[in-house]
């Protein structure tokens, strides 16, 4: 078939085939990228970073409250992805979730070592101007999760936020909030389940909207 391809197209195609990983990985699924990372393909790692580096960095900054420490946490997390991607089990979790779990653990490990951390009040840096598609998508996603979070009972939301962003253990939370440990466990459990419900419902409601939009 190639033999009948117009002459001009032929060299282009050949060129594309000689360096497939330079360009093609950006279209692969997260799971496929992780499989390539497990084979030592650094382009695939770069593509994963391009997808999740920004969320990862935002999360790390929020947890460790220091841009330099946040960079370290993100770097270590992606290198952990690089080293342990062979153990990722696609059927058990989404790749994005796996990566963010690693980032979060890194950040929390840092913050638990640094005792200066969590007595400080939460300071939100002003949101930067959002010019790219990527930034716009992240902003929508942020609004979606924040809306879900706001509809949780205050006590549950507080427990989730302090645990996830503050890096507090459940026992530290019980102390800080002056509640029995059992209460804290129940709040986190109920809160997380509820959040899951809310986000799942939103996602399934969003589908018809997406379809009607794409047919326009």
């Amino acid at each position: 078939m190639v033999a009948y391809t117009p002459v001009v197209a032929y060299p282009l195609r050949t060129f594309a085939r000689t360096k497939p990983l330079q360009r093609d990985v950006a279209h692969l699924s997260d799971e496929a990228l992780i499989a390539l990372v497990a084979r030592g393909e650094d382009d695939a790692l770069a593509a994963l970073y391009d997808r999740y580096g920004r969320v990862a960095y935002g999360l790390a900054v929020r947890v460790v409250r220091d841009p330099t420490l946040a960079e370290d946490a993100v770097q270590e997390a992606f290198l952990t992805v690089w080293r342990s991607s062979g153990r990722f089990v696609a059927e058990r979790s989404k790749a994005s979730s796996w990566i963010l779990t690693i980032v979060h653990r890194r950040a929390v490990d840092v913050v638990r070592r640094e005792e200066r951390r969590r007595s400080e009040p939460l300071v939100q840096p002003p949101a930067p101007p959002e010019l790219t598609d990527d930034a716009a998508w992240l902003r929508l996603e942020r609004e979606r999760v924040q809306t879900a979070l706001k509809s949780l009972p205050d006590a549950q939301r507080e427990a989730l936020e302090l645990a996830y962003y503050g890096g507090f253990t459940q026992s530290e939370l019980a102390d800080r909030l002056g509640q029995p440990l059992g209460t804290i466990k129940s709040r986190m459990f109920a809160g997380l389940r509820q959040l899951r419900e809310l986000l799942t419902v939103q996602a399934s409601e969003k589908d018809p909207w997406d379809k009607s939009r794409s047919t326009r």
Binding site: L45, Y57, G58, L79, W82, R92, P125, M188, F189, L192
Partner: protein
């Protein structure tokens, strides 16, 4: 509400809100609790959705370059630590440029040694969670000690056992016996009376997993008596 406290810890675990002791306790529970293993992925995903609820400033450009540079460096130096499958892949890419790689490996390993404790602990945790949180995993009750062997369909296996601290100068060593030959699956130390250890050999159906006490550092073939046995 009507939940056993340990089940509710699935949320704290997903939020990474357990201390080391609690985490080990929960992981041991997870190994034997199918309903927790089924619930965990959804809660982990819900927990990680919180990452999106916070502003995402653009990370510094150099960060990307640093990560990729370090990854490439590790690919050419840390190869012997990886699994055979990966070693073979790396060899065919010609990454082992003999002398230079050896020199780099020595440098890199000295650089890394201070980080190794935290890093390997974290990676071990990742591996264990991967096997324990897999609802398809099979479990075999151990003979000789309290505990279980959890085997994922891929053959990755984690040993969860109550074992006392070994005598001075001795270490526990795991073995996988398939068709008459016992191959070392690595040495391990229990902590606070418990061992959660990811075997360094795949465990096929019908293989026997055993644990012996050996000289520190481990030995090429088992010499001690079999303290723990499990037929996978």
């Amino acid at each position: 509400m009507g939940q056993e406290p340990i089940h509710e810890m699935t949320a704290a675990y997903a939020l990474n809100a357990l201390d080391e002791t609690e985490r080990r306790e929960y992981e041991q529970h997870l190994a034997g609790c199918r309903s927790c293993r089924e619930e965990l992925p959804a809660l982990v995903e819900a927990a990680n959705s919180l990452a999106y609820a916070t502003p995402a400033p653009e990370p510094p450009r150099e960060l990307r370059a640093r990560i990729l540079e370090q990854a490439r460096l590790e690919r050419s130096t840390v190869v012997p630590l990886r699994s055979r499958r990966l070693v073979r892949g790396a060899l065919t890419t010609g990454a082992l440029a003999a002398a230079a790689a050896v020199a780099l490996a020595i440098w890199a390993s000295s650089l890394r040694s201070s980080l190794d404790d935290t890093r390997s602990a974290l990676e071990r945790r990742e591996q264990v969670v991967a096997v324990l949180s897999d609802p398809e995993s099979r479990q075999v009750v151990l003979a000789g000690a309290d505990g279980r062997l959890v085997v994922a369909p891929s053959g990755r296996a984690t040993l969860v056992a109550s074992l006392p601290r070994p005598p001075e100068g001795r270490t526990y060593q795991a073995w996988v016996q398939t068709g008459g030959t016992a191959r070392s699956a690595g040495v391990f130390e229990p902590s606070e009376g418990r061992a959660i250890f990811r075997l360094e050999q795949p465990v096929l159906r019908g293989s026997v997993v055993m644990v012996t006490l050996e000289a520190d550092g481990g030995v090429p073939a088992p010499t001690g008596q079999f303290l723990v046995r499990a037929r996978a």
